[in-house]
C-alpha cells in the first residue's frame, strides 16, 4: 500500500540551500543522466511511455506518446520547450518547484532532450517571477560548469544547450502554440493546428512542449524505473502529482500525492477548512475547470473520475471557498480575467468574454433579470467549442458550472438588489477589516 503522501519532486525542498548544485548532487541528483545515456533514445521514450506519465500542465496527454510523434527522419533540428508560464488561476506548483529545486527541472530537460534528440532546449518562464528566474539562470550556469550541459555531456557525445527565456506577461502564452509565438519574438497568439508542434513547432521544426512538472518527473522515472512510477496512482492516471490547496483551508500549500487522492483526504491533511467554516465550492484544476461542490469531496482526483464528475483534473489547483464567499463575485472576477487575457485573435472569445462580463456584472449588482441566466448560458454555448483555443472554452467553465449548482444565489442578487454577502467576512483578516472599514458583520 502506497503512503498517503509521496514526496518525490518536493522531497528536497526542505534541504539546506536546496536550489544549489551541491545540495542537489549530494542527494543523488543528475544520476539519471548516465543511466539515460546508456540507453538508446528510443528506449528512454519507451520507458516514459511505459510509466504512464501524462502531461501535468492540464491536458493530461501521455508524455511518451507526445515524444514519439517527433518525426526523427525530419532533417531539421528538434527542440524541447518547457512550458513554465504557470498562470492558470489557482495553479502554484511549478513556481515553487523551480524556486526550491531548479536542478530537478534542468536534469529532466537533459534526459528528455536526449530522448527526442534535441540539441537546443528552452525554458519559457513567465516574467513575473523574478527570483525563480534568478534560480533558473544560476542552475543552468552551474550545470554548464559541471559538464551536465554543453558539449559531449558526461563523455556521451551528446550536446545540449539550454536557454532560460523570460516572458513578459500574457496568460495566453501558456497555450503551447502561443508560447512558441512568444518564443519567436511575436505577439502571443495561438497557431492553427495542424500542423502540430511535433511536426512544425519552433522555427517550423519538430518541437516537444511539456509542462515543468512533467519534465521534472522524468529523472525519477529513469532512475527508479517505469514500473515504480506506474505502481502509484490509479489505473489510467499513473504516478504522483503536486496538489495545490489554496483558499479557506487551515493550512494551504503543496501536497504531493499519488493521483486518485480525494479532496476530503487532502483537506484533512491540511487541518480542515478554516475554523468555524465549511466548504462551499472548489475548482479541481484551476479556474478553467468547472466548479465542484462538497458533494464531490470523495471523487478520486485523477483524470477519469474528475472528468466523470463533470469537470477536469487540470493542474490540480484546488481553490477552496467557504460559505462566506459569493459565487457570483468569484465567477465575475474570473470572467474579467479571461476578458483581459483574451488575445483577440478569434471573435467568439474576444467578443464573447466581453459580453459575458457585461451580463455578469449586471447580475452581480442585482440588476437585470432571471432571463439573463439563460442569456449567459447562450453566450457560453456560442463560445465553447467555437473558439480558436482553449482559453475561450475555459472562460465558460465557471459560469455554466456555477449556474448549474448555484442558480438560487444568482437569483438572490436580484431579490436582494445586490450582493447579499459581506466581502470582509471571506478575507484572512475579517476582524481587521471590520475595524478598518467599519463594516458590520
Amino acid at each position: 500500500m502506497t503512503d498517503t503522501l509521496t514526496p518525490v519532486l518536493t522531497d528536497n525542498w526542505d534541504a539546506e540551500r536546496a536550489w544549489t548544485l551541491a545540495s542537489y548532487e549530494e542527494r543523488g541528483g543528475y544520476a539519471a543522466l548516465d543511466k539515460a545515456f546508456a540507453m538508446a533514445p528510443d528506449d528512454v521514450i519507451a520507458a516514459v511511455k511505459e510509466s504512464g506519465l501524462r502531461g501535468r500542465g492540464g491536458a493530461g496527454f501521455p508524455t511518451g506518446m507526445k515524444w514519439g510523434f517527433i518525426p526523427q527522419d525530419n532533417p531539421k533540428p528538434k527542440y524541447l520547450v518547457v512550458n513554465a508560464d504557470e498562470s492558470e488561476p489557482g495553479t502554484c506548483k511549478d513556481i515553487p518547484l523551480m524556486m526550491a529545486s531548479p536542478h530537478t527541472l534542468v536534469e529532466g530537460v537533459i534526459v528528455s532532450s536526449y530522448a527526442i534528440r534535441a540539441n537546443t532546449a528552452f525554458i519559457y518562464v513567465r516574467g513575473e517571477v523574478l527570483h525563480v528566474i534568478r534560480r533558473l539562470q544560476r542552475a543552468v550556469q552551474e550545470a554548464y560548469l559541471a559538464g551536465h550541459l554543453g558539449k559531449n555531456i558526461h563523455g556521451s557525445g551528446y550536446d545540449l544547450d539550454l536557454i532560460v527565456h523570460a516572458g513578459a506577461g500574457a496568460y495566453i502564452c501558456g497555450e503551447e502554440t502561443a508560447l512558441l509565438e512568444g518564443l519567436e519574438g511575436r505577439r502571443g497568439q495561438p497557431r492553427l493546428r495542424p500542423p502540430f508542434p511535433a511536426v512544425a513547432g519552433l522555427y517550423a521544426s519538430p518541437t516537444v512542449i511539456n509542462n515543468v512538472e512533467s519534465i521534472a518527473s522524468v529523472p525519477s522515472i529513469i532512475v527508479n524505473g517505469p514500473a515504480w512510477f506506474a505502481g502509484m496512482g490509479t489505473e489510467k492516471s499513473n504516478g504522483f502529482g503536486i496538489f495545490s490547496l489554496s483558499g479557506h483551508v487551515a493550512n494551504p500549500g503543496q501536497y504531493e500525492a499519488p493521483l486518485g487522492i480525494t479532496l476530503r483526504e487532502l483537506i484533512d491533511l491540511a487541518g480542515g477548512m478554516r475554523e468555524g467554516h465549511e466548504l462551499k465550492f472548489w475548482t479541481p484544476g484551476g479556474s478553467s475547470t468547472p466548479l465542484l461542490t462538497p458533494e464531490h469531496l470523495d471523487v478520486p482526483l485523477d483524470f477519469e473520475a474528475v472528468g466523470a464528475a463533470g469537470s477536469m483534473l487540470g493542474t490540480r489547483a484546488l481553490q477552496l471557498f467557504d460559505e462566506t464567499t459569493c459565487v457570483v463575485r468569484a465567477v465575475l472576477r474570473w470572467t474579467e480575467f479571461y476578458k483581459h487575457e483574451s488575445c483577440g485573435k478569434c471573435t467568439p472569445c474576444r467578443e464573447g468574454t466581453w459580453w459575458l462580463t457585461q451580463t455578469l456584472a449586471r447580475l452581480e449588482k442585482g440588476q437585470g433579470s432571471e432571463a439573463d441566466l439563460d442569456l449567459l448560458l447562450d453566450q457560453c454555448d456560442n463560445i465553447l467549442g467555437r473558439s480558436f483555443c482553449a482559453l475561450g472554452d475555459g472562460a465558460t467553465s465557471p459560469i455554466s458550472s456555477s449556474i448549474q449548482y448555484f442558480r438560487d444565489e444568482y437569483l438572490a442578487h436580484l431579490t436582494h438588489g445586490g450582493c447579499p454577502f459581506d466581502p470582509a467576512a471571506s478575507t484572512t483578516f475579517p476582524s481587521l477589516s471590520d475595524t478598518a472599514a467599519g463594516a458590520t458583520a
Binding site: R17, T91, I133, R134, R138, Q141, G167, S220, N224, L245
Partner: protein, 220 residues
C-alpha cells in the same frame, strides 16, 4: 535621446543567444525598460534595427504583453493580485487601501516617482494569498496594514526583503535580470516558504515516502 553603445551591444548579445535572432525580442524589450524606465520609441527603433524588422512589428509585440510599460514606471512596481482567490482572501481591500494611501489609481505612479501601483492577475502563489508583488518578487500573506508598511518602507528608502526571496532591487534592476543578465541575488532567501512545505512536513512526521525504486533498496 538614442540608446548608448553599451545597450546596443547588449541588445545584439541577447539576439545572439538564440538560433534565430528575433527570439530575443522579449528579453530585448526587458533590457530597454531597464535602461529607459519604460518602452520608449528609441528603444523600439533600436530593437527593430538589431533584428532587421520594422518598428511597427516591434511595437506590435511591445503592446501585447502586460509587463511592458509605455508610461514611466516608478522605482518600485507594486502589484496586488485581484484575481478571484486573492481578491476574496483580501486582495481587493489591500488594493483599495493602497490606492487611498498612495493617492494613485490603477497603473499610476506616485508624485515622488517611487511607487507604481497596479492590480495584477494570478501570480502562481495562491497558497500564500493574499499576494502582492514588488518588482515581481513575492510578498506573501499580506494584510492592508502590512502592504502599507511595505510601501512606506520603500518610500523611506529602507531595505525591504521579499517574504520568500531576496532584498528588493529597483524595477529597472529587475528588468535587467529578466533580460538575461543575472545579478548576485540567486542565493538569497529560502528554498521554499512554509506553505510550499506543508505536505512535506506531514510526510516527514508520519514517515511517509514514495515506494523504493528498482535501482535502490532504500526508499527515496
Amino acid at each position: 535621446m538614442s540608446l548608448d553603445q553599451k545597450t546596443r551591444d547588449e541588445l545584439r548579445e541577447i539576439a545572439a543567444r538564440y538560433p534565430e535572432a528575433r527570439s530575443g525580442l522579449l528579453p530585448m524589450l526587458h533590457l530597454v525598460q531597464s535602461v529607459e524606465g519604460r518602452v520608449t520609441p528609441e528603444g523600439i527603433e533600436a530593437c527593430a534595427e538589431v533584428l532587421g524588422i520594422s518598428a511597427a512589428e516591434v511595437n506590435g509585440v511591445a503592446t501585447f504583453y502586460t509587463m511592458y510599460k509605455r508610461k514611466p514606471v516608478g522605482d518600485y512596481h507594486v502589484g496586488v493580485c485581484t484575481n478571484t482567490l486573492c481578491a476574496v482572501m483580501g486582495g481587493d481591500l489591500i488594493f483599495e487601501r493602497l490606492k487611498d494611501h498612495l493617492e494613485v489609481g490603477n497603473d499610476e505612479t506616485t508624485e515622488d516617482g517611487t511607487i507604481t501601483l497596479e492590480h495584477i492577475e494570478c501570480n502562481a502563489a495562491c497558497d500564500y494569498a493574499p499576494v502582492m508583488m514588488v518588482n515581481w518578487e513575492f510578498m506573501d500573506n499580506q494584510t492592508p496594514e502590512s502592504a502599507v508598511q511595505v510601501v512606506d518602507d520603500l518610500r523611506a528608502g529602507n531595505e525591504v526583503h521579499s517574504t520568500r526571496g531576496p532584498r528588493l532591487c529597483t524595477w529597472r534592476e529587475a528588468e535587467r535580470v529578466l533580460a538575461g543578465f543575472p545579478d548576485d541575488r540567486a542565493d538569497e532567501g529560502p528554498a521554499a516558504g512554509p506553505a510550499s512545505l506543508a505536505g512535506l512536513r506531514i510526510a516527514r512526521e508520519k514517515g511517509w515516502t514514495a515506494p523504493a525504486g528498482e535501482s535502490k533498496g532504500e526508499s527515496k
